[in-house]
Symmetry: D2
Subunit: 325 residues, 4 copies
């Protein structure tokens, strides 16, 4: 339920306002150099600070609790924990009676019969993505020959979006965005023809990121308006290089050696300062309600490093699977 | 690798031009009425016949080999096999030396070191989707209270597309399309907050369908241009009903009781009659090549019942998982 | 539930008196020579015929339905089906009202709420072990360097047991036995320190064989009466060879390169001709009842090839896992 | 690899002389009362102190890091960590060059190519069983109606064994033992006919306990010398109660409602004070070597609570599985 992967397997735990969040990694091969400072660059990339990100800044103190000895992975499970801090739970208790629109407050209330941790969103918080980023750092180390790069393509429909962001902040509103990820240097033959296709596995992981509502590979939804004669990528050499890359580097679920290319969309942040209607379970009627707390005006700004991390997790697993075939 | 599901678990097998294709279903509860004629309606919906579909018509003779006794599921694994027929493999041997653009010929050649069954595309054939449809019939029976409906939204960018189809057929070309699926009547609380979110699981299965290149839930990619104040769905009553449904019936990965709504895009069929360039591994150079065989000009035409089937598989599994929480 | 294995994964299906039984093998590497006659020797070893075995003789007609092309495994799932025949179900209907002592009649009646296939024991029949033997044939092919040999150690407490067998048959009774299995030629490092220890995995599979009630590795239960100074195996060379082999070739759950050695015990066959007491759900009281049908007086006689098969399945999986470390 | 379970799923981590050991539990239902003091009784039972146990006494400071809120399980993953202390690693570095007989030093050296954590045995240490005991405490809470009791049956072949223990200690040697476990109050229908039989699952977990070399259910190995007429348990009433319990409460892999009964054997502790031969990889010859450190003269003394814990883990999982059938 909270684990993913066949051979390189990650399990997430923790709550937004609990003592820590973290990730348990099983199946990481032994002999990999790994230390706590390796995580800094990607953790920093995830941290807020830029215009449109939350003022809740975490120090992200990370500890490797197991599976690493003398600066090297041992082959045993690696537990990585990141301490929480700078939490302020008082604004969240009201979510029990007035579930926030666009949040998991209501679905979790029903699913867990009132027992879910509501502080800061509990397990359903963007805070847990710090653990995904940590998993990505380890995953990337197992596939040093593969380059994964995610970047913001557009925010609110615009590629130059600073003014739009400032406007959304001023209006206490939020914006959606699109992130593109490109993977290069990967070998031919990763992925399986059916349920473990490259697209299946990457999409499975991407939809684990809070706020992702769509994914497309290669030309994606544009393919609906294309003809086969346009879309098909001609193979031009014995290495399988193609003249174009409409399919996004994947044929029949299997990597073809060309760049893997995909895009994901993030919905506008659910938490906004504007008054919104929701059902109040205490008064038993719908009423206007204002969310207090510190939030990102646009989560797309912080998502690229998370997209990279989970792509690395998928490829680390495919890479190990490939050795068995 | 070729299995999916936690409790309602399907395993696919077979090749396009082998003796049969089929599905093994484990975890189907006992006591479900099930007989071979139950499969007819959905198998018929998948069969070609309409304009733009292949002239290879199969009789789809289906047999339940195990797990059903006296017209009722026993709780033991259910093996369903569908005989192949009307196969003509002679056109496919050339795919070994000249891999078809847009197909898995090249990726499988490398992955399986020349041992893959090339006849009719082997395991990577649309033929195997008949087994997925069969799995869907069983899955639907386990969740009779849930209604799943998929339909073609557009072909080649148009909602009225018959003329466009005829033109593509005349030009020996192919078209992509978009399919929309709506699920209603499902309870609140299906799906998990992280790796087994409703979106993760449904997308995983959708990308198992040959030719799917994108998926979006609710407003999907349009969300990139929306504001939180527009996108958030206001909860209007104690049952969690929402005034709008931009999120597609899912919050924090968990069903909220409103309709689940998603769209998938199918690429234009890879097999077209036009001459296309590809690398010839015998002559060791790129050259023009014409694909012979019988193909759909637009696979989107046959995909809706497959989308329904795999959605049912996902929900059958979630439904069993829900009983354990 | 009815599957086992991480990378070399088997799924069993079928019922004793259904049309067929079989096994679906996923994860078998491509390029393995495989044809239907490869199965004959081990299927023959499992067949009855000797003193103390059932007069129900099956032809065991086996077909490879998928995953093999031109005499070679393709990397796709391999479905192997074995036709049932020579079935006679009429004696079994009474097991619904009078569950046989020592059988699964009662437990399955409750578990599946009366829907289980009762003919010949349904899925809980020794008949299904033919599918396990078939899986073993494929598994053995993936580890040709490893030698697996199981043999009967004793029947009814005696190593020379023909007279005892004849006596049990004459008295319409049955006998238990002990089978020993030795594995040689396997490399160091198979198995995992905790939940996937060599012992865990082999024992898991052995207890899938109907009638197995115990397993011990190396000196096993005798170790309870030994001292550490006796039991510890001294390592005598750089290859890890040991002077003795009390531990059965496994240390800390991991193979140490010496022979793996284990023994399993089979209970005396549950089906005997003698009148036995059981509860009659129709008359609602305990009464004497006689089982009609054709049975083995001692299943231990037919178990060695099944023990070998499942040991091969375990090692085939470990062997693939080892490549990923 | 280091996880077990389908629905109630545990993942172990940590090393003997690392900062902590622990267990991650996924799938625990929400609404279960749980606090840190709940763990004390079983952790105390595992602690040394009695004659024949190690002088390394741990405080076993346990913390629940996630998944519990306001004293109740939330349905999210539960991470339980237990701090290590009182460690002294200096005696263990020699195990790299002179692997201890009966230990995993050699097998892990090869498997992990020299990268395993050798301090105190690393992951292959009895220390990690404290995490298993913690998992058992949570598991037991999910099945309050089931009673699980394990006890020492014999040590060194004797039921009154104090004098024998003292003698072994004096001689710097160690002893093996047998533990019996009885489970009562469980419902009919737990377990699956094939690979997830009750015996398969319990044995899988038992062989995860360091030092276990055999397991038998019901009459176990004695069954080899019994006749069917003796071994079969007559069903005496409509609840499935049986006159005898030779099968140990399991028929066809499924619980029959009578007590589950099994026994495991622990080998004599590998670490003894006596000089033993082993291969020295530095001098490249076999030589006598003495192990320094603090060890149990008989691990059987501390194993009962671990056997109970893992039995509870198995039953917690079966109990959730049962709800889905």
């Amino acid at each position: 339920m909270n684990s993913f992967g066949r051979l390189f397997r990650i399990s997430i735990y923790g709550e937004s306002h609990g003592s820590e969040v973290g990730i348990l990694i099983d199946g990481c091969p032994s002999g990999l150099p790994l230390c706590e400072s390796d995580f800094k660059p990607d953790l920093l990339r995830r941290q807020p600070g830029a215009l449109g990100t939350t003022p809740r800044v975490e120090k992200d103190t990370l500890q490797i609790k197991s599976g690493v000895f003398d600066g090297t992975s041992t082959g045993a499970p690696i537990l990585i924990s990141i301490t929480n801090g700078n939490t302020n739970s008082k604004h969240y208790e009201s979510t029990l009676s007035i579930p926030r629109p666009g949040h998991a407050d209501f679905t979790k209330k029903i699913k867990y019969e009132g027992h879910a941790d509501w502080r800061g969103g509990g397990i359903s918080s963007g805070r847990l993505t710090v653990a995904l980023v940590a998993a990505g750092v380890v995953a990337k180390k197992t596939i040093p020959h593969i380059k994964i790069e995610a970047r913001i393509l557009e925010i609110g429909g615009q590629t130059d979006y600073q003014a739009l962001l400032q406007q959304a902040i001023n209006e206490q509103d939020s914006l959606g965005g699109i992130i593109e990820c490109r993977v290069s240097g990967l070998e031919i033959g990763l992925g399986e023809p059916f349920f473990d296709s490259v697209e299946s596995t990457i999409s499975h992981l991407m939809f684990s990121i809070p706020g992702i509502k769509g994914i497309e590979f290669g030309d994606g939804f544009k393919a609906a308006q294309m003809r086969g004669s346009e879309f098909n990528d001609a193979i031009i050499d014995a290495h399988g290089r193609t003249a174009t890359n409409h399919s996004g580097g994947i044929n029949g679920g299997i990597s073809n050696g060309n760049d893997i290319l995909f895009r994901v969309v993030t919905r506008p942040t659910a938490s906004i300062g504007l008054v919104q209607n929701s059902f109040n379970f205490e008064t038993n009627k719908m009423e206007g309600h204002q969310i207090v707390g510190r939030h990102d005006a646009c989560i797309a700004l912080r998502v690229p490093v998370i997209v990279e991390a989970l792509t690395a997790v998928a490829l680390a697993d495919f890479n190990l699977m490939r050795r068995t075939q």
